[in-house]
């Protein structure tokens, strides 16, 4: 036999593509600029568009008068190859960011792109190689990146915080922040605040002790870690049984959704996840702080200043990780709005956590009751071993992690609502690292479900209108000064509603269910609406009745005709 033919050396896959490998330089994005993000609505500089989590844009070129002319401007296909991190979902769950005509967006399975926001052309790409066998409760998804200091920050599936060069996509630093052997993972969109990058843990279904971490944005060095389950001797530890109890060690309260932030108070408002095991409260007596809570964390020290627990001693998997939207009352009082999985809408004073108002925002609540003064009375829950118990809302909640939005012109908050129940049967099991730790068998209803977008006045608690849908609403809303509310449906329609009335004004069939966050921006005087699609994540939890629905991984961008 002759000598081997020289096959050379393996090359990056992207070298066999049209990607440019370079994005244009933009102005520097830093804390001051993000703090004033609303003054430059052409850009979407941070996860929610602004620190307050309102997901509102002052742009109004696209409005309720001309929305019927809205048409696709371009489509970006994420695409997948290989078997590097499972064929579990491959769906978008992110909100794109845009800085001066450059879009930065993360996809599933460790992918990040810089895209020309006017044309959809791929400028650069980066793919973090994700181990196939990381413990993931909900697929290989990612909710987005942070941009600033010339870098793009991504929290990877195997819990590395990485910084990429914003112009080239090259790796700048890589910090390992979580223990994949303990069932930890990463999916949250990082938040850039001051000189820090803030991320939270994922792994509540594997008995991980939740935490929030802040890193030096330039170097990746950790500045602080804040555990969201206290250990013995710390405030709140008395809510985990007696001093010999071990439940706190695997208590949950993970923080896998981006916090909001008040620059004046210098407080991060972070939602926390379910206790572990999710459905078996017998092994963790007490309220189990700070699970299912909002914790107000001093951004400088990483200490919890106050907390409010939405579901004490949770037995239904009612994470409270979803956003805490900041707004000011007409009298100037600084408030916080939160629509919880448990079906109740909370308004708190964000300076001290005082309850202002609580009321149901879903039709069917059977798990228990929360009275106007905040008193919680559980009614239906898995208690006896092997006995099935049905309850509403199911474990995905009346509202999942996908986000509501607030329009200052209407004073309304637009909430995506899921009406889906579930049956849980307690099955006690021992804890082992990296193995699911639910304490129950769970089946979410395959029928008797529906959804709607609710327009809620947070000052009065009144539901002003609702837009009904045959299926639960599982994607974030976006509202604009064009008197519009945008939202995707599970069956693929991307819908625009009149923000004042709820009238459906426009829709476009994207060919895949929606489970992510639309946003808007402007380039060269033209407004665009972008929506990443993809029907994945945890469909078996929030809408198993559509587990077999069409799924895709395209990012659609819409605009008015140029003429």
């Amino acid at each position: 036999m002759t000598d081997y033919v020289d096959a050379g050396e393996a090359v990056p896959h992207k070298t066999l593509s049209a990607t440019k490998g370079q994005a244009p330089a933009t102005g520097n994005v830093d804390f001051e600029r993000i703090k004033n993000a609303k003054s430059e609505p052409a850009n979407w500089l941070t996860y929610y568009g602004s620190y307050d989590g309102q997901r509102h844009s002052p742009l109004n070129q696209i409005n309720s008068d001309n929305i019927k002319k809205l048409t696709p401007a371009w489509v970006f296909q994420a695409g997948m190859n290989g078997l590097h991190s499972g064929a579990s979902t491959y769906s978008f769950e992110a909100s794109p960011l845009v800085v001066e005509g450059v879009m930065y967006v993360s996809g599933p399975d460790g992918k990040v792109w810089a895209i020309d926001a006017a044309t959809g052309e791929e400028l650069w790409r980066y793919k973090w190689a994700s181990p196939y066998d990381v413990s993931l409760c909900c697929g290989n998804v990612n909710r987005g990146v942070a941009v600033g200091h010339g870098k793009v920050y991504l929290y990877t599936l195997n819990a590395h915080l990485i910084a990429l060069d914003a112009q080239t996509g090259d790796l700048v630093w890589d910090t390992v922040n979580g223990d994949v052997r303990a069932g930890e993972s990463g999916s949250v969109a990082p938040l850039l605040v001051k000189d820090k990058v803030v991320v939270g843990s994922a792994g509540g279904e594997f008995g991980l002790r939740g935490h929030i971490d802040a890193f030096d944005a330039e170097t990746g060095e950790r500045q602080w870690r804040c555990y969201t389950v206290p250990k013995p001797g710390e405030p709140g530890s008395e809510t985990w049984g007696d001093e010999n109890a071990e439940a706190w060690q695997r208590g949950g309260a993970n923080c896998w959704v981006t916090p909001t932030y008040d620059p004046e108070l210098e407080l991060l408002y972070h939602g926390t996840g379910n206790p572990a095991p999710d459905f078996d409260g017998g092994v963790r007596p007490g309220d189990n702080l700070y699970t299912d809570s909002v914790v107000a964390v001093d951004v400088n020290s990483g200490t919890i200043q106050w907390h409010y627990q939405f579901t004490p001693h949770d037995l239904w998997d009612y994470d409270s990780t979803m956003e805490n939207l900041l707004f000011d009352a007409p009298d100037g009082r600084k408030l916080l709005a939160h629509a919880d999985k448990n079906g109740y809408f909370f308004v708190l004073d964000r300076t001290n956590g005082e309850l202002i108002r609580v009321f149901p925002f879903v039709d069917r609540i059977t798990w228990g009751e929360i009275e106007p003064d905040g008193k919680v009375t559980p009614k239906v829950y898995p208690e006896e071993e092997g006995v099935p118990v049905h309850f509403w809302p199911g474990p995905a909640g009346g509202k999942e992690w996908t986000h509501m939005s607030y329009n200052p012109a209407t004073g309304l908050i637009y909430v995506p609502v899921q009406e889906v129940g579930a049956t849980a049967t307690r099955r006690r099991r021992e804890f082992k690292e990296s193995i699911p730790y639910w304490g129950a068998g769970v089946a979410v209803d395959l029928d008797d479900f529906y959804g709607y977008t609710a327009a809620i006045d947070p000052v009065t608690g009144e539901e002003k209108w609702r837009w009904n849908n045959e299926y639960p609403m599982c994607a974030s809303t976006l509202t604009t000064a064009g008197n519009l509310v945008f939202q995707g449906t599970p069956t693929g329609e991307f819908v625009a509603l009149n923000a004042e009335t709820g009238e459906k004004l426009w829709s476009f069939q994207c060919g895949s269910g929606h489970h992510s966050s639309p946003m808007t921006y402007e380039v060269d005087g033209r407004q665009y609406i972008a929506v990443p699609t993809g029907w994945g994540g945890w469909v078996e939890g929030f809408l198993p009745g559509l587990l077999g629905a069409a799924a895709g991984d395209a990012l659609f961008c819409f605009a008015l005709p140029e003429s």
Partner: protein, 152 residues
């Protein structure tokens, strides 16, 4: 069951070759190899594609920890294949014509398992799907502040 039992069972069931009981070679049924870490810290190993077997040999490569990897890839088959391999930054690809030899330099974090394959035709389905398995633990600063917990 010993590994010899396992091999014998796979052979008896016709699962250890091409076009026997199944159409292709059942994934994950090849041999296990171990990479060697050099004095320069790089972990090296060689994988081959034997003639008409449509399998990476060894098909499971074990590395002591995450880090820098140098693979030598040899195609001893009488057909053309390729390899698309995981790598932090972007997957890497190498084209492997009949009777060829090449290298792949990879950077991968551990612990965890990655898969790679020949993505031409349906080589992956026929058996040319290999595993790169990285052992080790995460750094101490990434671990949980809690007492040691039981593992499976």
């Amino acid at each position: 069951m010993t590994s010899t039992d396992r091999d014998a069972d796979l052979a008896a069931a016709g699962l250890d070759g091409q076009n026997r009981t199944a159409l292709g070679r059942l994934l994950g049924t090849g041999s296990i190899g171990h990479a060697e870490k050099g004095s320069d810290g790089i972990m090296r190993a060689t994988v081959r594609i034997p003639e008409d077997e449509l399998i990476w040999e060894p098909s499971i490569l074990v590395f002591p920890e995450g880090g820098e990897v140098e693979l030598t890839l040899i195609n001893d088959d009488k057909n053309t294949h390729c390899a698309v391999l995981p790598h932090n930054g972007d997957p890497k690809i190498i084209w492997l014509v009949n009777h060829s030899k090449g290298t792949a330099r990879l950077s991968l974090s551990g612990p965890g398992t990655y898969y790679y394959g020949s993505t031409t035709g349906n080589d992956e389905g026929r058996g040319l799907t290999g595993a790169l398995v990285f052992g080790g633990e995460v750094p101490d600063q990434a671990k949980q502040d809690r007492p040691p917990q039981p593992r499976p």
